[in-house]
Symmetry: C2
Subunit: 245 residues, 2 copies
DNA sequence: GCGTGTGAATTAGTTCACAGCA
DNA sequence: TGCTGTGAACTAATTCACACGC
């Protein structure tokens, strides 16, 4: 879907929607808005106000409006945003108008779950291949896909025109896998292994570390406990607001 | 471990290490430093320079020094940081000196993987109870723990003195689970369900949405593609640096 | 001399508040 | 009148660059 040509974007108009170089923080929130918009569309809403959408997405309305303004947005003053139009806009900016193929390396505990996770397919990502280094895992079928040996990565990645690599191996194996992915031309990696990856310029790495999230919560738990226990004055109600991602 | 009393912290010294109210961005990086430090300790290093630790943690050294300075750190000029001392410091600040008990609600695809994830136990978290709403799942044993019905949450949470709740249910069930956790007194929640939770003040929520990470990568993929394809001049090598978390 | 710790400068992100359009 | 879009003000985070102690 979508072939929007909107005015005001810098540079000469081309076949591509002309990406306006969004702030990173905005990019990170667009998927959130998208989810909220889909929910609104499913419940029959045709338009939303910035206030309404902001609530659904868990941000404040000023931030939302500023974010949308960055993509040269199409709201109507006094009315709000057209839900389906905005969905198309955001999907177009995020590059979700084409289905992207994902290669998942490491089908251990976590990888197994990721391979079966519905949330990917339902949002435009296709898990196209599974890999593992452990021969005893090769051949196993998960969710209709056969696990292949990681040595086949190069060949399969090309065949399936892999766009994003997901690493769910143990930490010691992660760097080697990343190197292989990069060698095959993958320029976006999602890393679940608890380690730092070094990759050449032009390759984007995002990291998800489950234990780190818990440790951050632990800090806040700890702080709350020491606030209520120790010092003069402050009651339990005085603590901080819920934090975002 | 650890009962450090360091000077310079504001307020009157008490039994608690006196939390110096760190910037949120710093808190989010401390676990990263901790992991790097443990790796260094395992390989026999006794001290690190800010440069060395920064490399291991994937940040630049100025940022690292500023972060550590916030916790009134103990480096030695001309030498560096004592690895084990710094580990104790950071663990103390993050509240990891006590093992925290985690309740996991929702043992579907993802929950199952989380229940078996080693990374939690190895970093001071104990999964103390598993819950699900589906009766056919209740009674199942995962990793030595029996899945209980979510109705038992209140009783078990108290028994096990749950400190953090992890929600791995489908999105429609998440809010109700969060409400139950809050009702039981849980003030830290890690949410894997793709939805916004509303919780009272004083409760911290962190969210992990796997599909969102992919969508962010998709954006960068899309941008890189449109840069190399379209406009005059810029070659493929000119694209952006790898991004952090 | 080396490397930490930190003020000062810069940049990024958020919030405010209101002009302007439907 | 209601709500978007946005400059301007503010806050948070990062980076610079160097004084100071070992």
């Amino acid at each position: 879907m979508s072939q929007h040509r909107h005015p005001g974007a810098p540079g000469r108009a081309g076949a591509v929607p002309a990406l306006p170089d969004l702030p990173e923080a905005t990019v990170a929130r667009l998927p959130e808005y998208l989810r909220a918009l889909h929910a609104l569309a499913d419940t029959g809403h045709e338009t939303v106000s910035s206030e309404g959408l902001a609530n659904a997405a868990g941000v404040n309305s000023a931030k939302l409006r500023k974010d949308l303004s960055h993509l040269g947005s199409y709201g109507t003053r006094g009315v709000g945003y057209d839900v389906t139009l905005l969905i198309d806009q955001i999907e177009s900016v995020l590059g979700l108008t084409q289905c992207r193929s994902v290669a998942l390396v490491g089908v251990g505990n976590l990888g197994h779950a990721l391979a079966g996770y519905d949330g990917f397919a339902s949002r435009g990502f296709r898990i196209a291949a599974l890999f593992d280094a452990d021969p005893s895992r090769v051949g196993e079928e998960i969710n209709g896909l056969v696990v292949r040996h990681v040595d086949e990565l190069a060949r399969v990645a090309v065949e399936e025109s892999i766009s994003i690599g997901v690493i769910a191996t143990p930490a010691p194996a992660a760097q080697a896998v990343a190197d292989q992915l990069v060698a095959v031309g993958v320029t976006s990696i999602l890393n679940f292994a608890p380690c730092v990856l070094s990759v050449p310029e032009g390759v984007d790495v995002r990291k998800v570390d489950l234990a780190i999230e818990l440790q951050i919560l632990s800090f806040h738990e700890h702080r709350k406990a020491s606030l209520t226990a120790l010092p003069g004055g402050l009651a339990a109600t005085d603590t901080q607001e819920a934090i975002g991602t």
